[in-house]
Amino acid sequence: MKSNRKLILQLCGATLGMFLFGFALVPLYDVFCDITGLNGKLELVAKKSTGVIDTSRAIKVQFIANTNESMPWDFVAKDVEMTVHPGENARADFFVQNLTNEQMVGQAIVSVSPSIGAKYFHKTQCFCFDRQVLNAKQAQDVSVLFSLDTDLPESVKKITLSYTFFDITDLQPVAAN
């Protein structure tokens, strides 16, 4: 009977451990994506550029602006496509307007395709770093300052950034992600 108790406790411990492991997978998954640059997730911190410009090649950078289905904002990419050299600083502009009669808070989430490009896409400044608070009917120009890493693999000739605005008015305060 004593050995029963020990085994039962071990198995309950394993059960609890696996329950917690399920939650541990959430940050582990992000860590894994960060390290490997998989899943097209961008780091949401500003990067210093190195100053070296690789003029031997030019990369097409495209911008897509979306709003999440329940987001009553107008969001347009003013620069749909541009060509930049790796290492060169560039700027892309967007227009965003709150179409409702209420103050709203939005957060832009970016996704990069191909996902390998995410690791080499450095943003020195971005409207997606912050929540955007827009009053009723307020319109605003927002921008992203970025550069491409000179280590960008040769195989990448074109990078597409897709920004999606989500309504987070009800989700305040959000995690500083």
């Binding site: 029963n4 198995l11 998954y29 999440n68 996902s115 989500f166």
Partner: protein, 522 residues
């Protein structure tokens, strides 16, 4: 052999016998009856699906209700029919096969069972709720199951929690029983294979059911408490849901098939009148399948956009599983080779299992080829694949086990003629139902859609007719069980000529208490 029946401790009478029982045989029977009931409820939903798909266009149900049917059919069959049936068989047979007087934790055993009726009553009650039952598919991908879910999703989450607790407690009970209560000289490598496969299954359950519990808990807090585990707007990720779900989900498919492997490994030697070929390799093959099952989950997600290295890793890891599975199929065939075979109902189901499960395995290999999977993904080819491994796989093995051990449970032989009728109707019915799905799937018919393009009409009609044949022939099984419980030719202790194992040392029907003194194991 001395009979260990204690006449002062028979079963209690009336309802309390079933409510308060701690007897492994009573609880085993309740699990089996419960799972049969769920099999019919889930089966009726499948027939509603097949009724709608008899011809193109919408005729019987609305698309919303169709979605609820596909979702509930999957959930009920997986969590309500197949898993409890195996737990019921474990309850009945594991103590008898290892020479133990009962399960190690009898009260916990009662609790694990009685959680289930409440869990599934709650799940089924969502059908009459405002907004309807869960309609997001049995895989309940976020955000379909969070942002866009009907209000009843909360009841679904708690039902999964309850069923999960029941499975985990059942699994802990099985592990403690097998590890601590074997008859003295029964070493691990002398255990019957059904016991071995259940031990490994129980460890899988302890490892992955808590992850599922965590996943549905995250859904719950996303829906009601403002977290954003799966919501990109709050910094979460819907793909995370799929990773978490399939980290549970892939081992889950082995939870539903490893005990089946054990059952087939008991039945084939009996009716071939030869010992099982390659016992040790069976044990190692089962263990390696269980270990590998943790490394293949993303093959369900080839099309969500995982990187090339990921696609390759999960493709090769998945294909690797076919090696130990091939070992098992080889061993079963080698056991039958030059055996003195007879073809009673359990053996018919077992042989059909080997043939049809292998077909399901081959379509699984096709799906594992990641570049090809982009065409097969979410088509009826996938539906054909997993029904071939689950219906003639898990369900046939349960039927085989029921016929094989029913004389030991009831003390009466079942009606062999009706048993064979049941087998042949099921065999023809299921192949008519699921085989054409391979063709419509390869031709591009998407799954989970109530309407389809007219070129799929003929094959779908065949599938529906087969589905009705399969469904209604299960009523023959009910008839067999009822007749067998009521009476029939008395069964001997050793029911089958070639049967080996401790369960045949007790009389038929197995007395209420068995092996109160541990038996000798040769």
């Amino acid at each position: 052999m001395t009979s260990a029946v204690d006449h002062h401790h028979g079963p209690a009478t009336g309802m309390t016998r079933w409510l308060f029982t701690t007897n492994h045989k009573d609880i085993g029977s309740m699990y089996l009856i419960f799972s049969l009931l769920m099999f019919f409820i889930g089966g009726s939903m499948a027939l509603i699906i097949r009724m709608e798909l008899v011809e193109p266009g919408l005729q019987v149900v609305q698309p919303e209700f169709f979605n609820q049917m596909t979702t509930m059919h999957g959930l009920i069959m997986v969590f309500g029919a197949v898993m409890p049936a195996f737990v019921g068989l474990a309850n009945w047979m594991v103590p008898l096969m290892i020479g133990a007087p009962d399960m190690a934790l009898p009260r916990l055993n009662n609790f694990s069972f009685w959680l289930l009726p409440f869990a599934f009553f709650m799940l089924l009650s969502t059908l009459v709720m405002d907004g309807g039952a869960p309609d997001f598919g049995w895989t309940f991908y976020a955000p379909l199951s969070t942002t866009y879910a009907p209000p009843s999703v909360t009841f679904f989450i708690f039902a999964i929690h309850l069923a999960g607790v029941s499975s985990i407690l059942g699994a802990i009970n099985v592990i403690v029983t097998i590890m601590n209560m074997r008859a003295p000289s029964m070493s691990y490598m002398k255990m019957p294979l059904f016991v071995w496969t259940w031990l490994i299954t129980a460890f899988l359950l302890v490892a992955v059911m808590p992850v599922l519990a965590g996943t549905v808990t995250m859904m719950l807090t996303d829906i009601h408490f403002g977290t954003s585990f799966f919501d990109a707007g709050g910094g979460g990720d819907p793909v995370l849901f799929q990773h978490l779900f399939w980290f549970f989900g892939h081992p889950e498919v082995y939870i539903m098939i490893l005990p089946a492997f054990g059952i087939i490994s008991q039945i084939v030697p009996t009716f071939s009148r030869k010992p099982l070929f390659g016992y040790a390799s069976m044990v190692y093959a089962t263990s390696s399948i269980a270990l590998l099952s943790f490394t293949v989950w993303a093959h369900h997600m080839f099309t969500v956009g995982i990187p090339l290295v990921g696609e390759l890793f999960f493709m090769y890891a998945t294909m690797l599983i076919s090696v130990p599975t091939g070992v098992k199929v080889f061993n079963w065939v080698a056991t039958m080779f030059r055996g003195s075979m007879t073809f009673e109902t359990p053996m018919l189901f077992a042989i059909a299992f080997i043939v049809l499960f292998t077909i399901g395995g081959f379509s699984g290999l096709m799906l594992a080829i990641s570049p090809a999977d982009f065409q097969y993904h979410d088509t009826y080819f996938v539906v054909a694949h997993f029904h071939y491994v689950l219906v003639p796989g898990a369900v046939f093995s349960i039927m085989a086990a029921a016929y094989y051990w029913m004389p030991k449970w009831t003390g009466n032989m079942y009606d062999e003629y009706l048993g064979k009728c049941h087998f042949w109707c099921s065999f023809v019915g299921l192949n008519l139902t699921f085989f054409p799905m391979h063709f419509v799937g390869l031709a591009g018919m998407p799954r989970r859609i109530p309407d389809y393009s007219i070129q799929f009409a003929d094959f779908n009609l065949v599938s529906s007719l087969g589905g009705f044949l399969f469904g209604f022939s299960q009523l023959i099984f009910v008839l067999v069980v009822v007749k067998c419980v009521k009476g029939g030719k008395k069964a001997e202790a050793v029911v089958w000529e070639g049967a080996e194992g401790l369960e045949w040392q007790v009389p038929s029907p197995a007395p209420y208490h068995t092996f109160e003194t541990p038996p000798e194991v040769k």
